[in-house]
Symmetry: C2
Subunit: 209 residues, 2 copies
């Protein structure tokens, strides 16, 4: 079972690594990172450089495509060779999935036209420019296309995907192995629960303030 | 504000990258990864290699030390130079923290003697060999020492730490930015909630089955 996660300059690390942690524990799964050019890929937070040996174009098919987001995802929207590759790979997958603003890449590839989908709350308007309807769900699935909300939502997507790729017992075992029994000390993780003051501060942080 | 995360061969990726994602968003925080030797560090899941330019011994003090786990954490227990460094750095920190079996490293450095602490549920007996008392909490804090349970628990530790390093409003904003509003599709994330069948399957997976 071949799971492919494209990384690109300025990717959001948890978008990619949360799902990777869960999916790599699926029996017989092989996860591969690919990149626009083989070599060191720097994340958006500035401290992590991942060495990716494989160019995406070396991959011609896979079982699961998982596209992370981050500031770099927006930069990839103009890369027509990459967007064409996403569209082509999608024809070969069992599941085509995104985390956070990775949904914009699926959108640019024309995969979300006429569908409800989710992405980072800061990108809801951008998502709709691709003909999708933003919905404030954690994970949205239409057959083999799954999108998830911002950053940490990829973990919920991946846990559901573990069951689809193996079985529910195995997915639950992966949940226990990763002790995914979340107990956030605050309740500000969505626009529905955050106060206007928290939303304002988050916008400030997101714009580098 | 200097936050240091040691990586080592066979580290568990989400242990390190979950907290990294949140802590790097704290205003004025700088996160640095360090390693036993500068160069490419391979994770325990087999697909990720992180390029770490800094040897741990180049760091003489920091505000936060966060030690991840994974199979590689156990291998580091015999590295007396590294364990001595952890003990020495601890004297300089505002917070000394661990995720998953990273707690064993704090234990080997003598930092958990006589304290309650937490770690991955599969490592509870090992933790107690260092004079700590395992407690099945998500995060355990004694003044400046914080330990968290397995893998994904580091995210909860980090969110609490964001508030300690900045303020609650900023921590909540980081929670919103990372959309940390977890909605796991299953409820098997702890020994308290998993069925015996799930526990057995998790042990099987952990032993490579």
């Amino acid at each position: 079972m071949d799971i492919v996660i494209p990384l690109f300059r300025l990717f959001e690390p948890l978008d990619a690594i949360g799902p990777y942690e869960l999916l790599a524990n699926v029996p017989d799964a092989r996860v591969r990172f690919v990149a626009p050019e083989p070599g060191r890929i720097a994340d958006v937070l500035g401290a992590m450089r991942v060495d990716v040996p494989t160019r995406y174009s070396e991959v011609e098919s896979c079982d699961v495509l998982l596209v992370p987001g981050g500031a770099g995802a927006r930069l990839m929207l103009d890369n027509t060779e990459f967007i064409d590759w996403v569209r082509r790979i999608h024809e070969t997958t069992r599941f085509t999935t995104s985390v956070c603003t990775g949904a914009l890449i699926l959108g640019a590839a024309g995969l979300l036209k006429g569908l409800t989908a989710t992405t980072h709350w800061l990108a809801m308007d951008d998502l709709e420019t691709f003909g999708a309807t933003y919905t404030a769900e954690r994970v949205v699935r239409h057959d083999k296309i799954m999108t998830s909300a911002g950053v940490s939502a990829g973990i919920d997507l991946a846990l559901g995907l573990c069951a689809l790729l193996s079985d529910e017992l195995t997915a639950r075992a992966i949940q226990l192995f990763t002790e995914y029994d979340p107990q956030p000390p605050y309740d500000s993780g969505s626009l529905a629960t955050a106060t206007p003051e928290v939303v304002a501060r988050a916008r400030e942080l997101a714009s580098g303030g």
